[in-house]
């Protein structure tokens, strides 16, 4: 279906999926209820290091500085940032006192929902002065990005809480922010909590895990196709992204690594993301930008090494790291856009633009992190990360479908080329055969012409001259014409296929000559033993053999005055010997009368690679025609 194959189809699918997600979220949100509390009082106490929260909230918190939630203290550079141990850090305890609106006790569980907070250290929540909840995670990477939904304890005869005390302990000058708080039953607060949790935690988690999975697929692909580095880079990109996203959904429970290592991974991984993305773009467009690459590598590895655990604390100095990161990312994004425009690649352009959007989102997130904007907002880079996942998928999908298309096209091309080649071959073969046939026809024609000229033609001319001369009465016109007809018959016989059968050829000769021999009163003794087929015996050879023997018989009839001719055919070694023996008076081979005929026989024998010899004696003459059995002995 063309519809599914259209270029815009994946985009439309993404858009529809996004719209459905948003709609579900809105429907959820619309069903939500509960009461939002924004009035609070803040009491801050300066401390060193981190202490466990007290069993009960100290009294008089109600008299702290009145503030409106969400509240975020303006950050400032703390004097103790250089402290090597977390225990000697200048910290601060911020107590938030919140008066809750009065509620009727309808028997339902009452819940507290805190959308966001910004703090390190332990979060302790007290209701009416009594501790009801306390986080138990790492100090720095404690999942404070994740919304909190807890139930107030409900005991026999307990009343809905009237006030809330929230204790945050954090590095002085950083954090200590709290969003507004919500109170209500589960049905009222769960939709709010779920929607925020989904967008703030689950969605980025899902997307980065999914990205990593496709990255692993790319890695496996790369194992098989080592020269296609793009698959390895795709995996590296997904891995860096996954590492970066860990802090979004981890941390609510204690981490298996120390804050130092986790902070290091989280803060420097964006450099690795930028580096891998840059290399991916380079590979995609096959355009190297060594200076930019080295800049990113230098900045990235610089921070990576500088913030190794035991050196600088990446968590505390994340601001300058992120600022330089935004700068490097900006250059990388600009390069990606330029490359995409040069390569006329829409998806790459989109990716470059998305990089810029991410940088914008990064600036915003930096402000959010620094409590410069409403802390109830969410980190936007989480969503741009999802967008990146989708874009990367699209790139790989395009690559994959292009490859499939190329393969299909190559197959079709190959088949077409093959068919073309086959047609060419057939044509050239046909042409060759035609040339061969023409050649064969030509040779055959020449052979027949030569034969007509030497045989029939010359006999007829002889007869004509004889008729014209005054010797007309002396000549046997009938004999001459019979000779001509015999000639003609042998010519025709030579054109019939003999298929390597010499005996059949000689039998035909006998069949033709028999009437003449009978008329002359000469007895023919036929001694034909079986002989192997002569592979080389074709029509040209056949005619030469017929003519040689015809001449032999004619000579015997004309000159030898013999009463018997014996024709013997037998095999001797690798040759077939045909001998014609008469009991006539014999002859002198050098005599001029016979000379011409013998020379003719000899040249014919040579032409077919045969040997001819005569053994004249007083008791007759023996002609021996010796023919090779195999082709290698015959000259063609």
């Amino acid at each position: 279906m063309d519809f599914f194959r259209a270029r815009w189809f994946p985009w439309a699918a993404f858009a529809v999926a996004g719209a459905i997600l948003l709609m579900i979220a809105l429907v959820f949100q619309a069903r939500a209820g509960g009461e939002r509390v924004t009035a609070a009082a803040l009491t801050a106490t300066q401390t060193i290091g981190y202490q466990a929260p007290p069993r009960e909230a100290p009294p008089n918190l109600q008299r702290g500085t009145p503030i409106a939630l969400p509240y975020s203290p303006k950050p400032f550079a703390s004097v103790g940032l250089g402290a090597t141990s977390i225990l000697s850090l200048p910290t601060q305890v911020s107590w938030y006192w919140v008066e809750l609106p009065p509620r009727n006790n309808n028997g339902r569980h009452i819940y507290l929902y805190i959308p966001r907070r910004k703090s390190d250290g332990t979060l302790a929540i007290y209701a009416d002065g009594r501790l009801i909840h306390q986080t138990h995670s790492n100090l720095q990477w404690n999942g404070s990005n994740q919304p909190l939904l807890i139930a107030f304890p409900q005991t026999d005869g307990s009343e809905p809480p009237r006030s809330l005390q929230i204790r945050l302990q954090h590095v002085r000058g950083i954090g200590g922010a709290l969003s507004s708080v919500w109170v209500g039953d589960y049905r009222q607060l769960a939709p709010r909590y779920s929607v925020r949790d989904f967008f703030q935690v689950q969605l980025p988690a899902f997307s980065s895990v999914a990205f990593l999975f496709t990255g692993v697929f790319g890695l496996l692909l790369w194992f098989g196709r080592r020269n296609e580095r793009i698959y390895l880079l795709y995996f590296a990109m997904s891995a860096a992204c996954f590492v970066r996203m860990l802090h979004i959904f981890l941390g609510a429970r204690p981490l298996i690594v120390s804050d130092d290592w986790f902070g290091w991974l989280t803060v420097v991984s964006p450099y690795w993301m930028i580096l891998t993305t840059h290399l991916f773009v380079e590979e995609l467009h096959q355009r190297r930008k060594p200076i930019l690459t080295w800049t990113i590598v230098f900045a990235g590895s610089g921070w990576t090494i500088a913030t190794l655990p035991g050196l600088l604390d990446p968590t505390l100095i994340s601001v300058p790291i992120y600022v330089s990161l935004l700068f490097v990312g900006l250059i990388g994004a600009a390069n990606a856009i330029v490359q995409a425009v040069k390569a006329h690649s829409r998806v790459s352009l989109l990716m470059g633009i998305w990089c810029l959007v991410t940088i914008g989102a990064g600036i915003y997130d930096l402000c959010l992190q620094q409590n410069l904007v409403n802390i109830e907002n969410v980190y936007l880079t989480n969503f741009t990360g999802v967008g990146f996942t989708l874009l990367s998928w699209y790139v790989m999908y395009s690559r994959y479908s292009d490859a499939l298309e190329t393969a299909t096209k190559a197959k079709t091309d190959l088949a077409e080329r093959l068919a073309l080649r086959e047609a060419e071959l057939t044509a050239s073969h046909a042409q060759l055969r035609e040339i061969e046939n023409r050649e064969l026809l030509h040779r055959e024609r020449q052979r027949l012409m030569q034969d007509m000229h030497d045989g029939l033609g010359s006999s007829l001319v002889t007869a004509l001259r004889a008729f014209e001369s005054d010797r007309a009465a002396d000549i046997d016109a009938v004999a001459i014409l019979h000779g001509c007809i015999d000639d003609l018959k042998l010519t025709i016989d030579s054109m019939e296929p003999v298929e390597t059968d010499l005996l059949l050829l000689l039998a035909t000769l006998r069949f033709r000559l028999q009437p003449r021999l009978e008329a002359s009163g000469v007895k023919l003794v036929w001694r034909a033993s079986s002989i192997p087929p002569l592979e080389w015996l074709d029509q040209r050879h056949a005619l030469h053999i017929l003519r040689i023997l015809q001449e032999a018989f004619t000579n015997v009839l004309k000159h030898a005055a013999a009463s018997q001719i014996a024709l013997t055919i037998h095999v001797q070694d690798d040759r077939v010997l045909v001998s014609v023996q008469d009991n006539g008076k014999g002859f002198e081979p050098s005599s001029p009368i016979r000379g011409r005929g013998l020379a003719n026989q000899k040249s014919r024998a040579e032409a077919i690679g045969a040997a001819i010899s005569w053994a004249p004696s007083s008791r007759g003459t023996t002609l021996i025609l010796s023919l090779p059995i195999t082709k290698s002995l015959a000259t063609i």
Partner: protein
């Protein structure tokens, strides 16, 4: 075809030939032979058909190239109307194609047109006496036609069932010796039989060739749904 050399009555010979020269030569050859009597001459196929309505001759000589039709058809019709008549095809070269087609139509021999006049009379006598001539090439062609692998189910039994005759070993041997150039006398000697037996073999071979071609025609017709 009774062998009746002693009979005083001359052989009745008819000729179908459009060439006046050969007609004359033929006539001359027969006039000099008192035992041969020319009973009819036809120059066209139409005339030949008219002649076939008359009482049968003993020997019929047919030329293949008639102005109004094929001599093969005339041979076929003559074989049907005059079953006792020995039919010869008159040919110059005794070429396989024409001779075998004629034999299949019912001829039992051929006459070489360039033969000497005495030979023509002799050939007619020989044929009437049951001696069919056969050239080495025709012998080979016949052997090829009866090759056992030519038909898919050519076992003797199936031959018997379908009515397609096959050659006996003696007949095959005769044909093979002919292709090697041996004369009837020499073959008789080599096979330890009389010359007449060899002639009988050849006559039988010709008869089988004719039956075979007719059976084949029936097969063909069946295969094409005509029968």
């Amino acid at each position: 075809m009774s062998i009746d050399d002693a009979a005083p009555a001359p052989l009745k010979v008819a000729l179908v030939e459009d060439d006046a020269a050969f007609q004359n030569a033929f006539r001359t050859a027969l006039t000099t032979a008192p035992d041969l009597l020319m009973v009819g001459v036809a120059a066209t196929a139409a005339e030949a058909r008219g002649m076939l309505c008359a009482p049968p001759a003993d020997v019929l000589v047919v030329d293949l190239g008639l102005p109004d039709g094929s001599g093969i058809e005339i041979i076929g019709e003559a074989h049907a109307r005059w079953p006792t008549c020995a039919i010869m095809v008159a040919t110059t070269f005794a070429d396989e194609r024409h001779v075998i087609a004629s034999i299949e139509a019912g001829a039992s021999g051929y006459l070489l047109k360039d033969s000497r006049l005495e030979t023509i009379a002799e050939d007619i006598r020989t044929l009437h006496a049951g001696g069919s001539p056969i050239s080495p090439r025709i012998a080979r062609q016949v052997l090829m036609r009866f090759r056992p692998d030519e038909r898919s189910a050519a076992t003797p039994e199936s031959d018997a069932a379908t009515g397609v005759p096959s050659l006996s070993d003696r007949e095959k041997e005769t044909l093979q010796l002919i292709t090697r150039g041996f004369s009837f006398e020499e073959i008789a000697e080599l096979m330890n039989v009389s010359r007449n037996t060899v002639l009988t073999f050849v006559r039988r071979i010709y008869a089988k060739l004719e039956v075979r071609s007719k059976t084949e025609a029936v097969f063909e017709a069946r295969a094409h749904g005509l029968l």
